[in-house]
């Protein structure tokens, strides 16, 4: 195999592919960990856009939830006994933080629903407002609260797999990356599967699709378009809440201003690339975050020879920018195209104006 590596250029490509495959089990947990908030964000977008509402405010919803999770857990930890459940590092303060984060994101979603559905404001403006507000309010409160520096409430821990499973070569690490994770990441995995099934097999899924494609037709068969849209948009907030909480009480253990760093927007791109399905978005998000795993791997276990030299001469900023560049390339249609729900972005007016 290695003799192939000496072919100019092509050899390097081959070596790169082999390198990635070999490193994949090692990389998998990193890639997965980075993908969780993006996938959860995409599920939030899924709930919105499948019912015909654009949501570019996912970023702001996530940021709000991240802030609420972190600080409410920290405050709860000061006043509540440190009750431990015993698995995955679950404690009462963390659960309170998680619950309040979800509620906060649902509240923000309710505002988005009100502006987009009832007021019939432009949905992209509504999302923009949410993003600006989230940056402002979390930055403002964070500065004030951190002056009093409350101690952290800790974070959720990964599920420990039994050793017989974890020790299987190749499969072990991959399975570990999927389910040897914290409770929020686990809930993401379950949500992806459940939503995918519900979308195509359930009454809710059928009605949601009809409302996102042709709300008037749905209305004429007795479906309450407004109510369904409200419900879906607000429920979508649950996933943005999970995504935000993941950042501050599972993946990391601190809050910083603007820490979502565009994940909410990458989530939207994952949704588009994944053809507005949960499983598709799951795959797309993994593709986007693969570069993060790659960066770490090249840092710690660079490939040999010319390829290794080449990859390590690339500046670190290149790897940091890579997920965003991949999103652009993917959206530019190199990989394929997908069709949005037809009614996305259009406010629904119940009564037609024309005589």
């Amino acid at each position: 195999m290695e003799f192939l590596y000496d072919i100019p250029v092509i050899g390097m490509v081959i070596q790169f592919v082999v390198y990635v495959i070999v490193q994949l089990p090692v990389l998998a947990p990193t890639i997965m960990a980075a993908a969780v908030p993006i996938i959860l964000g995409a599920l939030c977008g899924f709930m919105n856009e499948r019912s015909g509402v654009v949501n570019i405010g996912i970023e702001g919803m996530m940021l709000t939830a991240a802030f609420v999770a972190w600080w409410t857990a920290a405050i709860a930890a000061q006043f509540l006994p440190d009750l431990r459940i015993g698995i995955m590092g679950i404690t009462l303060p963390l659960l309170i933080g998680l619950a309040l984060a979800i509620l906060a994101a649902m509240a923000v979603s309710a505002v988005h629903a009100w502006l987009s559905i009832s007021v019939r404001a432009d949905q992209i403006i509504s999302g923009t407002i949410i993003n600006i507000f989230a940056v402002g309010i979390t930055g403002y409160l964070n500065l004030l609260i951190s002056q009093h520096s409350p101690p952290s409430a800790g974070q959720f821990q990964a599920l420990r797999l039994p050793s017989f499973l974890a020790d299987i070569p190749i499969i072990g690490p991959l399975v570990g990356a999927l389910i040897g994770v914290g409770p929020i990441a686990l809930s993401m995995l379950i949500s992806v599967i459940v939503l995918q099934v519900l979308l195509f097999r359930s009454r809710w899924g059928l009605r949601t699709r009809s409302v996102g494609e042709h709300p008037k037709a749905a209305e004429t068969v007795g479906i309450d378009v407004i109510k369904l849209r409200y419900r879906n948009v607000i429920l979508g907030g649950v996933f943005a809440g999970l995504a935000g909480a993941y950042l501050t009480i599972e993946f990391g253990n601190a809050f910083q201003g603007e820490m979502t760093a565009g994940r909410g927007f990458i989530a939207l791109a994952a949704l588009i690339f994944g053809r507005w399905t949960p499983v598709g978005a799951f795959g797309a998000a993994l593709l986007f975050t693969a570069s993060i795993g790659l960066q770490r791997s090249i840092q710690f276990a660079p490939p040999e020879g010319a390829l290794g030299d080449f990859l390590s001469t690339l500046p670190s900023q290149f790897y940091s920018a890579l997920p965003y560049i991949i999103v652009i390339i993917v959206l530019a249609g190199v990989v394929g195209r997908s069709v949005a729900p037809a009614a996305v972005g259009r406010p629904y007016e119940r009564e037609s104006k024309a005589a």
Binding site: L206, A217, A218, T220, V221, G222, E351, S352, A355
Partner: protein, 511 residues
């Protein structure tokens, strides 16, 4: 329905309308576009809330606040614009809202298929429940709409202009279905502005004009002239006086034109014909048989795959819309909201939409607003556009006046060819007459006119020659004055090869 009144800003759509429909009758609601028929039915179906009046069902007053209420009370409606979700399957569309369930969450797919089959069997239709509705022909979409209404156990069935896009044969079949349903005891409200259809199928006819009931008739005691007078409020010429035509040299020549879409489907196949100066060449066809694409290829909005289009001797196959406009091609697009106008712009801008860039409307990069306004005033007067001023936005005008704006823009200048795509769709009789007369006047000055319309009657009445399109092909060219309605309809439905048999299995749309 008693004393139904509905006001919209600026208009009273329904003004104290009374309507009574009995079990086992087909009651026709006749009126021209904009008379308030659809509003009345939307009220009955809970899509609009009346300002006054009541709805009684079996003698008891009922409140219908949403389609859900209407369905619950046994009222179903087949809408003028199909209320079908293109990406969903036939079964999903029919069952939507009343889905057979397996448990509380999941759909019962076997029961669904079973029910659809049962429904189809009632009319001898073979239904493929898994096909996406978007891939069906218009005729089949109409059938799906009817099944959808029946599936909901309706007693009252409202059909809003169900025949607008059908061939005469398909219309006949639908009428057969209606009669069958009538015999089964349904109360049917049939909305139309086509007099002969109403006379053919209805038991009673209620005529409304400008939101008011102006009369009620029984088909055996009336005729088309009487109904027309009642509907419009004055004596009208039922047929256009198209006069003699004096065709001269060919202006538009289309040779072996083929148009494919992005996925490689042939939407227009090897079409050849000529339109001569001073004649109207009409194209008849069921919607979706390639007429739109043919028109778009001619006016430069779509790329032709092969073949040539020639305008007054110049090859224009790959010419841009602007070049064509300069060469004397006027185009009234079928979808005036999409192509014809910018609804948020004032009439001034809309009237110079394709002439804004040259003198006198612009000097270099600078717009000459004074010249634009002067021209707009002139056009508004000449084309009788009813508007408070030239500065109001296009979206505030009625459909008829919007279309006059488009016509004013496209009928002016040094013209060789006019392409009229659905020029009178959805307009009131006054506007229709105006536009038809303008078109004939242009023809008589030696301009070639290509007319495309889904309204077979319009094509029959206006054209000097008629081409029939079927699945992207031009299957026949007939003389406009002698062509028979039934013959043309048959050609539209079968392309002339089916021998008059209506396909009873689900066929896919050509496009």
């Amino acid at each position: 329905m008693r004393g139904i009144t509905k006001r919209y800003p600026g208009v009273v759509a329904n003004d104290g309308i009374d309507l009574e429909v009995r079990e086992g009758e087909i009651h026709a609601l006749l009126g021209e576009n904009g008379a308030g028929k659809s509003t009345l039915m939307n009220i009955l179906y809970g899509l609009a809330v009346p300002d006054a009046g009541q709805i009684l069902l079996d003698g008891k007053e009922v409140e219908i606040a949403s389609p859900h209420d209407a369905i619950r009370r046994g009222i179903s409606m087949v809408h003028q614009h199909f209320m079908l979700v293109p990406v969903l399957s036939v079964a999903e569309n029919i069952l939507l809202g009343e889905e057979p369930m397996a448990g509380r969450v999941f759909l019962d797919r076997t029961a669904s298929k079973h029910r659809i089959k049962e429904l189809g069997d009632r009319f001898g239709w073979e239904i493929d429940p898994d096909k996406p509705v978007g891939s069906l022909s218009v005729g089949w979409q109409q059938r799906v709409e009817i099944l959808k209404a029946l599936y909901r156990n309706a007693r009252v069935l409202v059909l809003d202009e169900p025949t607008a896009v059908l061939t005469p044969q398909e219309t006949k079949e639908i009428f057969g279905v209606l009669r069958k349903l009538k015999a089964e005891g349904y109360a049917i409200i049939f909305i139309s502005h086509k007099l002969y259809e109403v006379l053919d199928v209805a038991d009673r006819i209620t005529v409304i004009r400008r939101g008011k009931v102006v009369g009620q008739r029984i088909p055996s005691e009336t005729d088309e002239d009487d109904l027309a007078k009642l509907m419009v409020g004055r004596d009208v010429e039922l047929t256009v006086d198209r006069g003699e035509s004096h065709p001269a040299q060919p202006v538009l020549s289309i040779a072996n034109l083929t148009v494919r879409d992005d996925r490689g489907h042939e939407l227009v196949r090897d079409v050849s014909f000529e339109v001569r100066a001073g004649e109207i060449f009409g194209i008849a066809g069921v919607a979706g048989n390639g007429q739109d694409e043919l028109v778009e290829a001619v006016v430069g909005l779509r790329h032709a795959t092969s073949g040539t289009v020639t305008l007054a001797g110049t090859d224009i196959t790959h010419a841009s819309p602007r070049t064509l406009h300069k060469m004397g091609l006027g185009f009234v697009p079928g979808d005036r909201h999409r192509f014809g106008m910018v609804l948020s712009f004032p009439l001034t801008d809309n009237l110079v939409l394709n002439d804004y860039y040259h003198a006198p409307y612009a000097r270099g990069l600078r717009r000459n607003d004074a010249a634009i306004e002067a021209y707009a005033k002139e056009a508004i007067e000449k084309y009788d556009i009813r508007t408070p001023s030239a500065d109001v936005s296009g979206g505030t005008l009625s459909g008829g006046n919007q279309q006059k704006v488009v016509v004013a823009r496209e009928f002016e200048g040094e013209l060789h060819l006019l392409v009229l795509d659905q020029p009178t769709r959805g307009l009131d009789v006054g506007s229709i007459e105006f536009i038809h007369n303008q078109a004939i006047a242009r023809r008589d000055t030696g301009i070639a006119i290509l007319l495309v319309s889904a309204e077979l009657d319009e094509v029959l009445e206006m054209s000097d020659r008629i081409g029939v399109m079927f699945r992207g092909q031009l299957v026949a060219v007939l003389d406009g004055r002698t062509a028979d309605r039934e013959d043309v309809g048959l050609l539209m439905a079968t392309g002339g090869r089916g021998g008059g048999v209506q396909p009873q299995t689900m066929e896919e749309d050509a496009s």
